[in-house]
Subunit: 471 residues, 2 copies
């Protein structure tokens, strides 16, 4: 595995300014021996602190991209500005960060798999599913030869709009749904429509690390919003909206990944009002809604939205059939038209076969039966992990749903050091700093209890805790 | 259907300069009352003719974005620069063109379908395929619960690397293959890695219109390369490579879409040498290789490449099982690593089920049998269309493969006028100007003979020709 470099993970603000400037030099907007803007001027333009710009200039100077003349200011160096790592077989690639350390981690085969927030395939009703596949071929004999429409199969969107109404209290028409290949494609398409270089985006701290990589790729500027067991500090969120005028807030407010926290109902309504007021899209990623251990969670943000400021990403496919990669995105006109065009350019529509299989299984009574059993099985998994952790001295808040524990190690132990050791022993987890937009949270780790079998769960946790004691 | 606006289709160079400038103003790089660069200066910076910049300035002035002061130059207007169509629920979207008129056309249900370069599902072996699906469930009972690796199923990539070696004379390892969801996703991922605003990209004239939309979306500058029955004019290509230093050349050199032309073998070797010399990636899109009516076509460009300058997109899925959306991209290290990361951010890997079904059908003797029959059926379709056209006075070059006729109307008839009339009569085709990077070719149309049944083909062609006579 390519070890994720520290810089890729943390990507602090000064580095975003650095990349922004380098990009303008590489594009020839700032040429050799041109005088660069003053630190004060650029800080005002980008709405960042002068110290941040100063650090970016210092890094540019240190690396020889920029030189200082007679104290009169900064100038572009005449040297070849194309950095090595940007050159792909001689063809330069766009300047913004292209990394996905989470994917690098998950590419490693390990025995004790605690890094994947996926459900053990053994817990899914695989035999039932093959019945539905046969049924699909009887019903639609030409399904293999047929493209889906870009927006997604009509019958599936109709069924889902009814389902969302009945179970999640959402009012929407089939025209307000788009089928994507997983939530990740949805996040990627939305980011591509909304975010450009240096555009501010609100993100929870901590959050889903791949979303951070997608936003970094767009060159966006990550503005963290702390999430706690009580939800967000709405005054702080409003201050950030006022100051940065962010284009969107990417959120995962229900059995949050990685912490398991759920934002309370009263905050949902208030935050939708703030979004309207400050014209900030709320992108609500909601994959864990149906994975709860006690009470069902409050209705989605989307249910409180009347003005079209919430985009709802419902990737219930995680527990239905992950192998199909079916996700539904709900949003209003006119954003939906844009999203459909983006999807048409990205892959021209998700495969029809997968949509039809999903549809027929999803509407069956078997699914509800299965879901009840799955909740119990996952709760048992969670409790096993907690039991094993009880003697560790590590800290966590017991989640009421979802697939992960967000664990704090004693201050003396670093999660990256533990990660390096644990990978040698075929144990994987997600180091907390990957989930932190600021690249800190170095004593945190995300442990997924959903994928490993009960035996491997116990065994792997014992080994992991032993490694930590040795550190 | 949203009628594609003329500007979206033609998108001439001055409009790209216009968008580039507008983008910089919208991003705040050029602020209200700032003096803009001189026409001469900007023309040199962007390596375009001064007249082009002049036209862009004139359009900016006409629309009030820019004002002229005392003959001293151009200045940014203080007015709100955000254009209406860029505002999505108040959140501005990145400034470059987001259109896909081809997808808009294909979203319309019509009786006489000549706009889709897809194969009539009735010609595909649907019943056989359902057998393979059942087999897949027996072999991999947990396939529905399992994610594919990001790069694609190992077994499938091994099989394909052997297949490419045996049938296409390509030497490559499974590590040099990535599975994507259709060729379009491949083009989109590659464009995202290689192209940025104002980057020059060589494209055939005419070409696949959706690829043009993808490159426009990236803000790239389209440099046309004429394609004729004899292939390319390599001296002209070299001159373009020398002048523009394009990052890539997107090509469809075998039974080319829309013309059906095939670039001869001797040009393939020479062009790969030019690509090496000028460090220009050749992106070879090859979906029609196996759809030939006489001789098999020459080996792919990829077969002549030793230095890693060709990326090969093999979307044979068109005739295997379009509903699965399986495509393979071949390229060398280090571009492959980049491409895998881009795929991991885009959708985290194509669905495993689809890859496994494809694998088992693809390696079966039934496929080769089916392919022989399919070639004959498509040739019959082509000949029916040509028979009907014989009396029209329209011109075309009989293709030796592929799914389309590229037809020239008499000069007095405009393809867009005919298109408007034909859609009223439930007949669709692709107006030639969509396939032209310059937005001209207004007397051309692309007629796909592969999708409509023989009866509808005859009937639809007669109706279409009647409409043209009436115009």
């Amino acid at each position: 595995m390519k070890q994720p470099a520290k810089e890729d993970q943390s990507h602090p603000l000064f580095r975003q300014v650095y990349e922004y400037m380098l990009n303008r030099m590489e594009r020839g907007e700032w040429k050799a021996h041109d005088k660069l803007p003053s630190i004060r001027g650029l800080a005002e333009e980008l709405k960042v602190h002068r110290l941040t710009v100063f650090k970016a200039y210092r890094e540019l100077t240190d690396s020889g991209k920029v030189y200082v003349k007679d104290k009169s200011g900064y100038y572009v160096s005449p040297a070849n500005l194309l950095r090595e790592e940007r050159t792909v077989e001689g063809a330069a690639v766009p300047a913004y960060s292209l990394t996905n350390p989470m994917s690098d981690i998950q590419r490693m085969p390990v025995t004790y798999q605690f890094s994947q927030a996926l459900i053990d395939p053994g817990l899914l009703p695989n035999l039932f599913l093959s019945d539905y596949v046969k049924k699909v071929f009887d019903l639609y004999p030409k399904v293999m030869g047929t493209y889906s429409s870009v927006q997604g199969d009509d019958e599936l969107r109709e069924t889902l709009s009814e389902h969302f109404h009945k179970h999640y209290r959402l009012q929407l028409s089939p025209q307000e749904l788009l089928i994507t290949s997983g939530a990740q494609q949805a996040i990627n398409l939305i980011a591509g429509l909304v975010l450009g270089p240096m555009d501010p985006v609100l993100v929870e701290r901590p959050t889903y690390s791949v979303a951070l990589d997608i936003f970094r790729r767009a060159g966006a500027r990550l503005i963290p919003v702390e999430i706690t067991p009580e939800g967000y500090d709405l005054e702080a969120v409003e201050a950030l909206m006022r100051k940065f005028k962010p284009r969107m807030f990417y959120m995962n407010p229900t059995h949050h990944n990685p912490t398991g926290y759920t934002v309370p109902a009263r905050q949902r309504k208030q935050l939708v009002e703030l979004a309207e007021q400050y014209r900030c899209l709320l992108v609500e990623d909601d994959p864990f809604r149906d994975i709860y251990f006690g009470e069902a969670p409050p209705a989605p943000f989307f249910a409180y939205d009347t003005e079209g400021w919430v985009i709802y990403i419902s990737s219930f496919s995680k527990y239905v059939a992950p192998g199909l990669r079916i996700c539904a995105v709900a949003c209003r006109h006119p954003f939906m038209e844009r999203l459909i065009t983006a999807k048409s350019l990205a892959d021209n529509g998700s495969p029809l076969l997968n949509q039809k299989i999903f549809l027929h299984y999803y509407t069956s009574p078997r699914l509800q039966q299965h879901l009840g059993k799955l909740r119990i099985a996952l709760q048992v998994h969670k409790e096993i992990m907690e039991e094993e952790l009880a003697s560790s001295g590590w800290e966590w808040t017991a989640p009421e749903g979802g697939l992960n524990l967000w664990v704090k190690l004693p201050d003396s132990v670093s999660a990256s050091a533990l990660f390096a050791r644990s990978m040698e022993q075929s144990i994987s987890f997600v180091p907390g700093e990957l989930c932190d937009p600021l690249g800190e949270m170095k004593s945190r780790l995300r442990l997924s209890y959903s994928f490993a079998s009960e035996t491997l769960l116990r065994e792997g946790m014992r080994r992991l805790m032993k490694l930590a004691r040795e550190l």
